[in-house]
């Protein structure tokens, strides 16, 4: 024992420390930075510093045509480009009163659900990696690679798809690709169980995450947390079910919510588990879509010079990072007057400052990983 600390009348002084975590840190999932004030290992406050990946996608929207903007939306969130495509196209279709062809809607649902699985795989894989388990990451990425191959078959791109177009989709999903997707699903459904054995029900993993960085229902509503993070707090809210769009009302699927099974409701483990269960639900949706897909064209006839009448619409899609909103205003010209992209990571990040108070330094990493924030989506 330290003698000085025990001498009578002596006080052992501690001092607050200010640390800079990031912008290059393996667990920040892109480029973002935290200014952390700590007392020893306990965080007093972690202030997020974002904006490193700001590309002003919203301004670009005012400079390019309606069709031309679709590839830019890919870049809003590179892990879930399909949803940004769909959000913008839904807004444009609503403004231009264009009906999406039915086969196109099913192609969209298939592509989106595949994309959701891919995105959640990255999320749960890096989750393990961030807190020190490397192996599950490789398992997750192996499966994601198959999805990337499928995506390449569907639309020729592996990451920035530009697949969903105004009025439908760019390319039809052929019989052959459907078979490949079925093949993948047969394989993947077993993999989820394997992944659960490997990581989800691992004792060390559970103890590391249960009761860590709890988000209460009140905070989730106040800070407008969306998507899996919201559902992990026990609020059953899914845009696909509650503000239905596309073909989702015809499909049967569950909305997994957090139950606090290993600790407190809304802890990091709940947020992790919701994503695992959502992947299983996505598989269910995919199987139904493949069965129900009708014949017909994949895209409606939309004029090249697309000029929707003046108006505005706020389109919501359920992206892997939650409610993605596209607030699009048209003034009747060839270019959108204003495009606003509201993303799930942005609001999730604003909550970090509050939740980080009083948690351990190492738990900050678990918190960021469990929120599944994606830097390009925050900064746009």
């Amino acid at each position: 024992m330290n003698e000085i600390a025990h001498t009578e009348g002596e006080v052992f002084h501690t001092e607050d420390m200010t640390l800079s975590v990031g912008p290059q840190h393996p667990s920040t999932h892109g480029v973002l930075r935290f200014v952390v004030r700590t007392d020893g290992e306990v965080i007093r406050k972690a202030i997020p510093d974002v904006g490193y990946l700001h590309r002003s996608i919203e301004k670009i929207g005012e400079k390019v045509t309606w069709h031309g903007y679709v590839p830019y939306t890919d870049r809003a969130d590179y892990l879930a480009a399909m949803f940004a495509n769909q959000g913008f196209c839904m807004a444009a279709e609503k403004l231009g009163s264009i009906e999406v062809v039915r086969r196109g809607e099913f192609c969209r649902a298939i592509a989106c659900e595949l994309n959701r699985i891919a995105s959640h795989l990255i999320s749960v894989g890096t989750f393990g990696q961030d807190i020190g388990a490397i192996t599950p990451f490789l398992h997750a990425l192996r499966e994601r690679e198959t999805i990337n191959n499928l995506m390449e078959e569907i639309c020729g791109a592996r990451l920035t798809y530009n697949y969903i177009r105004i009025g439908g989709v760019g390319y039809d999903i052929t019989r052959e690709i459907c078979d490949h997707i079925t093949e993948f699903l047969d394989h993947f459904e077993l993999i989820v169980d394997e992944f659960n054995r490997l990581l989800s029900y691992n004792k060390i993993f559970i103890e590391r995450l249960a009761n860590v960085a709890v988000i209460t229902k009140e905070d989730a509503l106040q800070y407008n947390i969306v998507g899996p993070n919201l559902r992990a707090c026990g609020i059953k809210w899914d845009i696909r079910r509650d503000i239905p769009y596309s073909v989702y009302p015809e499909l049967e699927f569950e909305v997994p919510v957090g139950t606090g099974e290993k600790g407190t409701l809304g802890d990091s483990y709940d947020r992790y588990m919701v994503r695992i269960r959502e992947m299983q639900e996505s598989c269910r949706i995919l199987r139904q879509c493949l069965k129900m897909m009708p014949q017909g064209p994949a895209i409606a006839k939309v004029p090249r010079k697309f000029k929707p009448p003046a108006g505005e619409f706020y389109a919501r899609v359920e992206a892997p990072r939650g409610d993605m909103g596209f607030y699009v205003i048209s003034d009747g010209s060839e270019y959108p007057y204003r495009v606003r992209i509201r993303t799930g990571s942005f609001t999730a990040m604003s909550l970090v400052e509050k939740i980080s108070h009083g948690i351990m330094m190492a738990d900050l990493i678990a918190l960021i990983a469990s929120l599944d924030v994606d830097a390009p989506e925050i900064d746009r």
């Binding site: 904006g51 505005e312 706020y314 607030y327 509201r342």
Partner: protein, 170 residues
């Protein structure tokens, strides 16, 4: 029972006479206007009133309208419990636009308002931490304004680039 947008407007108008106006219900997203000075009280009322209960601020953004010489702040509200939505709009003058913060009504407004401050230059009075969020602290101008001109260089680095096509043609 689903509450219609026009009922929400009627309720709000009853509570804040002459502060709200311009209800438009025959559009995709029904909206009405609010006077800038009563946005906080109206927000709190819409959040807490039973049957209305807009507990979530889905989005807060701005639109620059130089032709009408105004900047419009747009609030997208949503209620998970009642399953309805409404859009509030606040018109501000383009010269020195300022409005009270709704941060104390919905915490999510904190970052949304910082973003609007950053990209539109709107001042939110009473905001706890009004700093630029996406752009660097020393950036000049607000990019999403329609008449924005990019500064020629930042930190000694030129922001201009020669067009690629001309280079190839040469």
């Amino acid at each position: 029972m689903k509450v219609e947008a026009k009922d929400i407007f009627a309720k709000t108008e009853l509570r804040f006479p002459e502060k709200v106006s311009g209800f438009k219900g025959d559009v995709f997203e029904p909206y009405f206007q609010i006077e800038p000075q009563s946005v906080v009280e109206a927000g709190r009322y819409l959040r807490d009133e039973p049957g209305v209960q807009f507990e979530v601020l889905s989005d807060l953004t701005a639109v620059d309208l130089p032709k009408e010489n105004k900047i419009q702040i747009v609030y997208h509200l949503y209620s998970y419990s009642q399953r309805h939505a409404i859009v509030l709009k606040v018109d501000l003058p383009r010269e020195e636009p300022h409005v009270s913060t709704v941060e104390n009504v919905w915490k999510a407004a904190n970052w949304f308002e910082r973003e609007v401050f950053d990209l539109f230059g709107v001042n939110f009075e009473g905001h706890s931490d009004l700093r630029r969020i996406l752009l660097p602290e020393d950036w000049v101008g607000h990019p999403l304004l329609k008449d924005y001109v990019e500064q020629e260089e930042y930190d000694g680095i030129s922001t201009q680039r020669e067009p690629l096509v001309e280079k190839l043609l040469r």
